[in-house]
Amino acid sequence: MVDSNKWGMVVDIDRCTGCQGCVVACQSENNIPINLEEHFNQRRAIQWIRIERYWEGEYPDVKARFIPIMCQHCGSAPCEPVCPVYATYHNNEGLNVQVYNRCIGTRFCANGCPYHVRFFNFWEPEWPESLKNQLNPDVTVRSRGIMEKCSFCVQRIQRSTRESERDNEILEDGDRGLNPACVNACASNSLIFGNFNDPDSTVSKMKEDAMQEGGRGYRLMENLGTDTNVIYLRKVGESVVEAPHG
């Protein structure tokens, strides 16, 4: 048991198949507006977690690589100091949180975010009446003019923390009620979520193992000094660009 929590994630891109199961799970959990064709055409589709696809080489020596990217919940987040109304701030559990009813839509935070994980609601989100039955009552529907992004499913953290306190139980590492929706959906176990302050948690052990000399761990754009709470594990394989074969 630890006094405070620092939530974080480990993403093993060697396990990731690029199936997008996490993307759809996130849309469902977090009441993300339906991305219609015109939203893609305007480049205004919203995905709190996305799979980026990178090309290497060309036919026949070609590779496509996939990487899931979501808010990195930076320890030194460039998005936080630029918000004039403290809509985005760092909470005491390591989360970079967005308070929707403070947000006035300056979009400074999106400009500041090097990971491009913040999305602006250019439109009022709309659902046909019957589809509203699916919306998650634990998550606010964001209106037009509001910035939104991955929250590590803070509603799940809150609910499971509250319930474990109520029932006087210890919230276990890897609890399905605590895990963000993307983590539970991932069939290949590429995404692992947990408490970095707990030295016995899976993420802590994986991080320790991965970040030592010769380990597979790295942070996205580590040179920016953002001190992210998401650790990536390197893909294993050969690069076709640096060492073409065949």
Binding site: G18, Q27, Q47, Y59, A77, P137, C186, A187, G237
Partner: protein, 748 residues
């Protein structure tokens, strides 16, 4: 003072940090947990949620799911951690079931057609009236002894729904055909020949060290992708040594993208390559299995030198694959998808699966585990689908007036047949078409009578997976919410499919011989037989306890009930060369499944908006074309292309060049181009299936859906491709800070 960007950010961060710190001093700790309005004290919403286990076998692959229900509404789907196949993970298709449940275009009550066929003009009628209409029409056929004039076409339906359907069609003396757009029929024929059983075995990818796959996009769409992705994660990083994936395919699929080695072959030559690998192994290793497998000496003619040219792969690569295969401790060979979609498809797959005999991996860890029979007699996995040649015959019978009632459930063959104009003529010749569709699809849109079935989240059922876990199991499906249209009263709204059939039979005075008055009773009574087996993972003192356990866990399975005996090795047949329609056309068409399955998921907006893994395209039909070839032809992304096979039928789709497409191939996703199917799918994109040549598998008459060639011409039009790529700005390129970092070697 000159301020660098970094210093500026540091200062800004510092001042804001101080502000937050200052705030934190004055506020109680709990206050900082206020993150979003729902958690605010004044409107704290903290309803009680319940999670119910059920089974999703829509689209043919089985997944155990749990559904979060709050105040009577389904809110979220997650994988069932107990379910042997997906162990907690779940697919986007399962998630999107929620949108099927609450789809705005669901049919809310039985309908009878009032306008011309296809006009969409219907009048609502009561269930009593609807069932009376169906039963009286079927009764007329029965009394005039023209039983064979009623035909039931469904998707391959197993479990108890399949049982009721079979009893119903038997009682009518009518024929029942199973339809699926992309047939597992070929796969099952080949498996039967090689392993002696037509159920799809469990591939223990988790514990394999080499997976050699041919054409099967098993990480994306083939058979049971969630289960295979689970295995893939362990295969890569779950053991001391990382598994190696070699993928042989004529298209660069998602599985090819994940492979360590993508071996591009000419379309339809996968079986030749498999034969050649076996030839290398038989000549270089003494393996007793070849005495049985190659008793006729057919392998001799498939040496790498003989086939390399036709396959399009060098002799060295064939030798290297054979070498890798023979030096692996736990290799698996699997194949399907486009490898089975040629005129020689069955032969290709037989050769591919025979590699497992060479590896002697049957029944072994990290190998191929055959599935035992279902624990309940008469309730099995879905039967094999009927081949396209049988459906062509059905169309001829319809045209000749030999089908007077056509009943259709979840089988949109008007959409999926190759020549839909011809199918329309056939359907127009049928006096009564009855659909059990809960949503409009192309076939339902020409129905005269619609008896809308429940969504699967509202209905009972069982599921014996076609691709089981290697031991005996049966998944249970229970209603997780009350029917959404319940408020319309018992004479309107939707009903469970099996209950509709049982009610119709009752009105007709037919005894289906089922043990129960309702579908739930039938299932529960059979569950009692499971209980009496007194084995499996659910231990209970009473049947009620057992029943609750089965529903809570989402099914019953007995991990110790396996198949131990290894099947006999059958002799290898030769593999013929593939034949193509329109050899003079420039490109091979490679239809592929992207996010919409065979088109049945096109009505679900989450899946429409889910980016294709390779192109990131959404909501449209696009054409994958090699970027250099496109450059030479002056084709750019978004150019509207006309696809022209030699058969004269054409479709238009948007150009989407990428660097991985083989120069002689175009890839086109299946799933769009519906006439009907609700607001999210009707009239969107184009249907590639509708222009394919009617080439058939030489052994079982299935559609050779990858055997069409086509010319591509530009139309001069341009439409922006709705895609996710570039929705967010590109990351800056920094050679020391790659976004995707790669390490070589086997370290962790």
């Amino acid at each position: 003072m000159a301020l660098s960007r970094r210093q500026f950010l540091t200062l800004m961060g510092g001042s804001a940090g101080a502000a937050v710190l200052f705030q934190a001093c004055g506020l109680p700790e709990k206050e900082l947990l206020i993150d979003s309005p729902p958690a605010m004290p004044e409107d704290l919403v903290s309803g009680i949620d319940n999670w119910y286990a059920t089974t999703n076998n829509q689209g043919g692959s089985s997944e155990g799911i749990v559904v979060r229900v709050m105040e009577g509404r389904a809110k979220k789907v997650e994988g069932n951690t107990n379910h042997p196949l997906n162990l907690g993970g779940h697919s986007a298709l399962s998630e999107a079931a929620l949108q099927g449940l609450y789809h705005p275009d669901r049919i809310t009550a039985p309908q009878v057609r009032t306008g011309p066929r296809g006009s969409g003009e219907y009048r609502e009628i009561s269930w009593e009236d609807a069932i009376a209409r169906l039963s009286s029409r079927l009764g007329e056929l029965d009394s005039s002894n023209e039983n064979n004039k009623a035909v039931f076409v469904s998707n391959p339906t197993g479990g108890h729904s399949g049982l009721v359907l079979e009893k119903f069609t038997d009682s009518l003396g009518s024929r029942h055909l199973s339809y699926e757009a992309l047939e597992t029929n070929v796969l099952r024929t080949a498996l039967k020949a090689v392993f002696g059983t037509d159920s799809i075995p469990e591939f223990d990818i988790d514990n394999a060290d080499l997976v050699l796959s041919f054409g099967a996009d098993f990480l994306s769409s083939w058979v049971s992708p969630t289960r295979y992705a689970r295995g893939y994660g362990e295969f890569r990083q779950g053991h001391e040594h990382r598994g190696r994936l070699i993928h042989v395919d004529s298209r660069f699929s998602m599985t090819a993208a994940n492979a360590d080695q993508w071996v591009h072959v000419n379309p339809g030559t996968e079986g030749l390559l498999a034969m050649s690998i076996m030839q290398v192994l038989s000549s270089s290793h003494s393996n007793a299995v070849f005495g049985d497998l190659d008793a006729d000496g057919v392998l001799d003619s498939y040496s790498p030198v003989n086939v390399a040219n036709e396959v399009g792969v060098s002799v060295d690569i064939i030798n290297q694959i054979a070498d890798d295969f023979s030096h692996s401790e736990h290799p698996i060979a699997l194949g399907g998808g486009s490898a089975g979609a040629h005129t020689n498809g069955t032969q290709n797959l037989k050769a591919i699966y025979s590699l497992n005999h060479v590896a002697s991996n049957l029944g072994k860890k990290g190998g191929v585990l055959l599935n035992p029979r279902s624990p309940i007699d008469g309730v099995g996995a879905a039967p094999p689908s009927n081949s396209f040649s049988e459906f062509y015959r059905l169309a001829e019978e319809m045209k000749a007036g030999n089908v007077s009632v056509l009943m259709v459930k979840d089988a949109d063959f008007y959409y999926g047949m190759t020549d839909t104009a011809d199918m329309k003529v056939a359907l127009d010749s049928v006096p009564l078409i009855v659909s059990f569709g809960g949503m409009m699809d192309d076939t339902t849109s020409v129905a005269d009578l619609i008896l809308p079935q429940h969504h699967f989240l509202e209905d009972w059922g069982t599921d014996v997976p076609l691709a089981g876990p290697g031991y005996q199991m049966i998944g249970f499906q229970q209603p997780v919410v009350r029917p959404f249209f319940e408020h319309r009263g018992s004479n309107l709204g939707t009903k469970g499919f099996a209950d509709i059939l049982m009610a119709t039979a009752q009105v007709m005075g037919k005894d289906l011989g089922l043990d129960g008055e309702t579908f739930k009773e039938v299932i529960k009574n059979d569950a009692e037989r499971l209980y009496e087996l007194d084995r499996g993972g659910i231990v209970a003192n009473s049947f009620e306890g057992f029943w609750n356990g089965v529903l809570q866990r989402g099914g019953w399975w007995d991990t110790s009930y396996k198949i131990d005996n290894v099947p006999e090795v059958n002799r290898l047949d030769g593999v013929a060369s593939p034949e193509f329609g329109g050899l003079e056309q420039e490109f091979y068409i490679q239809p592929f499944i992207s996010t919409l399955g065979d088109g049945s998921a096109a009505s679900l907006p989450w899946l429409q908006a889910m980016p294709d893994a390779i192109s990131t395209a959404t909501w449209q039909t696009w054409v994958e074309i090699n970027d250099k070839v496109a450059g030479k032809k002056g084709i750019s992304e978004g150019d509207v292309l006309e696809i022209r096979p030699a058969n004269g039928r054409t479709i238009k789709a948007l150009a989407m060049p990428n660097p991985a497409v083989p120069p002689d191939t175009i890839g086109i996703p299946i799933g769009q181009g519906h006439r009907d199917g609700g607001r999210y799918s009707a009239g969107r994109g184009a249907n590639i299936l509708s222009v394919l040549d009617s080439k058939l598998d030489s052994e079982n008459g299935s559609l050779a859906w990858a055997a069409t060639r086509a010319n591509v011409t530009t139309t001069g039009e341009w439409i922006r491709v709705p895609k996710f790529e570039n929705t967010v700005p590109e990351f800056p390129r920094d050679e020391h800070q790659d976004i995707i970092q790669i390490t070589s070697g086997d370290n962790h």
